[in-house]
């Protein structure tokens, strides 16, 4: 129930946020809009526990239970949903809107009778993505939902802890995996998008774009930025705090870079296997069976040494993040390339050459962007890292944050949280650089 309600609220607020973003992109410069997009995604980049701690520091009466859960799920993801819906509207809806204006259709009627029905498969796909995301979410249901609205991941963790037997939860995890796979397969979504309009096209949507709607998309990000800034100064003034030690900074950088690199490799591999729509649908249907299960499964693989554990950790984090990222970005771009690939296949060239000269150049910047997102999310992970890295003595900043919380020291945990931007910036520089030089390589090919 919490997943359904969270999904519904996220979609409604996301649609509102998208209209706000349309207004913002029609009246701001590209660089400003990129910063605003970052603000939309900010709540996704912070570990959920800190989102709650920072929020409760500013708002004395936060909701909890079912409504708290729905609120926080939507609060964290509304920016992401807004950005996705904004992109769809920009890509698809300009001609529909122009015709509607000619026909004198009101903005509300346009949204209800033209936009939503025509984008129904996109919204179905997004709904399913959100549903699975909320069903598999652990931190928010465990922290805010109380016992009643725990969710599946909480149930799996509870089983492991109460029974002390990991094997007992494997059937549940597998059942969940199969269920989401079948559900996704049954939906059979093929969000084929052939059109693309540049951001300037947002000007065309002047009448439906509303400035106040931007609050939905940007509100959570701005709120959290204020909360982080408010805490930051009090932390800087506290001489007892250590913002980072070099070893944990290095470990965070290793985890983040390896996860990004692994994501890059797996995403490249997935795009290489892009042959038939049927395959692609199964790939889209893939959802991970849970963090704890993933962690314990990976313990069984390979030797236990720092290097292997870092590799396993990066593989696990990539597999956890990639389904969502692949579904939302790379898949769409691959669909757009279908026509070009079909033309290329007429000529007697190998699939590898088609991949190397047609597919990869087109999607590589997106793969790099996805790698950055995965690497950044990996920086905040302590659930999987604690299972895989703790035994080999590797401590990341996120793991130290959790330890600080375990020893009453919340200020120290927040200080470590603010240090996460250091490896984050290194990650962005490296992978943006890779995207940049690869684009130059591609342009030199023609």
């Amino acid at each position: 129930m919490q997943s359904l309600l969270s999904m519904a609220l996220s979609l409604v607020m996301g649609l509102g946020g998208a209209l706000g973003l349309l207004w913002l992109s029609s009246c701001t410069e590209k660089k400003t809009f990129s910063f605003l997009s970052f603000l939309c995604l900010l709540p996704n980049f912070l570990p959920p526990l800190f989102v709650i701690i920072l929020s409760s520091g500013l708002i004395p009466f936060l909701p909890h239970g079912l409504w708290g859960l729905v609120f926080f799920h939507s609060f964290i993801n509304v920016g992401l949903v807004s950005l996705i819906v904004y992109t769809w509207i920009l890509q698809q809806a300009l001609p529909w809107w122009q015709f509607s204006m000619v026909a004198g259709v009101s903005p509300l009627r346009f949204i209800i009778f033209i936009l939503l029905p025509n984008l129904r498969f996109h919204f179905l796909s997004l709904s399913f993505f959100l549903l699975v995301l909320y069903m598999l979410s652990f931190s928010i249901p465990a922290l805010i939902g109380g016992s009643i609205y725990g969710g599946i991941e909480v149930f799996i963790y509870e089983k492991i802890v109460t029974t002390g037997n990991w094997s007992q939860v494997v059937p549940y995890a597998l059942g969940l995996f199969v269920l989401t796979l079948l559900g996704s397969r049954w939906l059979g979504i093929d969000t084929n998008m052939q059109k693309w309009n540049p951001p300037e096209a947002a000007l065309g949507f002047k009448k439906i774009a509303k400035p106040w709607c931007a609050f939905f998309a940007l509100g959570p990000g701005v709120f959290l930025m204020v909360a982080v800034a408010k805490n930051f100064w009090s932390l800087v003034l506290n001489p007892d705090l250590t913002f980072f030690n070099l070893l944990s900074l290095r470990a965070s950088l290793q985890v983040s870079l390896l996860t990004a690199l692994m994501t890059l490799l797996v995403a490249s591999l997935l795009s290489y296997s892009f042959v038939k729509p049927e395959w692609s649908r199964w790939l889209l249907a893939w959802t991970h069976p849970g963090w704890v299960i993933m962690g314990f499964s990976l313990l069984l693989l390979g030797p236990e040494s720092p290097f292997w554990s870092l590799l396993k950790n990066a593989l696990g984090l990539s597999l956890l993040f990639l389904p969502y990222l692949y579904r939302l970005t790379i898949h769409r771009e691959l669909q757009e390339l279908r026509g070009q690939v079909m033309v290329a296949q007429i000529f007697p060239v190998s699939w590898f050459k088609i991949y190397w000269f047609v597919i990869l150049p087109a999607i590589f910047p997106s793969i790099c962007a996805v790698a950055i997102l995965a690497g950044w999310w990996a920086l905040g992970d302590f659930a999987l890292s604690e299972i895989l890295l703790a035994p080999v003595g590797v401590q990341t900043l996120a793991m130290e944050m959790k330890n600080a919380l375990s020893t009453y020291d919340q200020a120290q945990a927040l200080a470590l949280l603010t240090s996460l931007w250091i490896p984050g910036v290194v990650l962005i520089l490296i992978f943006q650089g890779m995207s940049y030089v690869s684009c130059r390589r591609i342009s030199s090919l023609f």
Partner: protein, 346 residues
């Protein structure tokens, strides 16, 4: 023409990654073949720089010349599962971090060496009865109660007070399914009120509960950031704020009802490779030096008597704790109680 920068970039990236991973690539487990190094497994926060682990190993080395290799098990709740995954050659000689609940699970999966003689050495009148086990050694302990901030709430003095409107949406309780302190609260209610009346009480308590986070640490973090709340934690928690933050604002509620007690245990598994060294460490754990480290780092009461502790870390004024036999009976029914708890809260 532009292919060259791309290759340069890739080479630079690979070299950077190689340099970043040099220590891991050439890592060798030098301790594994050393017969003298004692291998001890414990949870993350115990082993971190600010935790008790590093200071204990330093003092132990100074006193005995035996080095310790700590094995980090991550989360304390997954200690036993982690042990099952260990290969024979990697298994620890000693494990620290069990509590009353996990020792029952541990006994089902592994056998442990007898520690009766050591337990006989614990002659602390403050130590709650029933804390001593034949095969586990208690090394610190703490009664549990509600912690609040001065002037934010009126301190409750009995469990029934928590049902009052004054406490509506104020209680932060760790989830008993996933957290040991959460389970302590459940046992406390049932221990004081009896099983049926206890669950009736929990039903009535629902409006007072704000959140039930999955761990003690997340409960305490939410308590610290949410004014006007109370958290179920250790009676010794205010000592942290007093000693580290110089704050007297945090108080422990003094209940008339007998309090539950959380005890931390260490044990030597029968598969230990360096059993003599492990036994030396067990003896060391209850010495005043080690006990002082545990008290100052874990903010828990020591199991040994430390005369100098009276000033900053006074013993609890009241020695009324849950009946250990009744507690043990309830711990044995843990699964059944949690299932019943679910029927109240689902």
């Amino acid at each position: 023409m532009h292919t060259r920068p791309f290759l340069y970039y890739l080479s630079a990236l690979l070299i950077t990654l190689f340099l970043l991973f040099v220590p891991e690539l050439f890592w060798q487990d030098t301790d594994s073949d050393d017969d003298q190094t004692l291998r001890i497994m414990s949870y993350s926060s115990f082993l971190q720089e600010e935790g008790a682990g590093p200071e204990l190993s330093q003092l132990f080395y100074e006193q005995t010349g035996i080095r310790i290799k700590w094995i980090n098990a991550g989360n304390a709740g997954l200690l036993i599962e982690r042990l099952k995954f260990k290969r024979d050659s990697d298994r620890p000689d000693l494990i620290m971090g069990f509590d009353q609940f996990s020792i029952l699970e541990a006994r089902k999966s592994f056998k442990f060496l007898e520690l009766r003689d050591l337990n006989r050495k614990l002659q602390n009148p403050h130590l709650p009865s029933g804390s001593k086990q034949s095969d586990f050694l208690a090394y610190d302990w703490g009664p549990m109660t509600f912690i609040y901030r001065n002037n934010e709430v009126v301190a409750p003095i009995q469990l029934d007070d928590l049902l009052k409107e004054d406490y509506e949406s104020r209680l932060i309780l760790p989830d008993p399914r996933m957290s040991s302190p959460g389970l302590q609260f459940l046992l406390w209610v049932i221990g004081v009120k009896g099983e049926d009346a206890g669950f009736d009480f929990l039903k009535k308590l629902q409006p007072s509960i704000r959140v039930m986070p999955p761990s003690w640490s997340s409960s305490y973090s939410l308590f610290k950031s949410t004014p006007g709340t109370m958290v179920f934690s250790y009676l010794t928690s205010p000592y942290y704020h007093k000693l580290e933050e110089n704050s007297e604002a945090y108080k422990a509620a003094a209940f008339n009802d007998p309090l539950p007690v959380q005890v931390e245990y260490a044990a030597i598994p029968q598969f230990c490779g360096r059993c003599d060294q492990a036994m030396s460490f067990m003896n060391f754990l209850i010495t005043p030096g080690a006990q002082k480290i545990l008290m100052n780092k874990n903010y828990m009461y020591p199991v040994a008597l430390l005369p100098e502790m009276e000033k900053d870390f006074p013993w609890p004024e009241k020695n009324s704790y849950l009946d250990p036999i009744e507690t043990l009976r309830l711990i044995n029914k843990k699964k059944e109680l949690i299932n019943r708890w679910k029927t109240v809260f689902y």
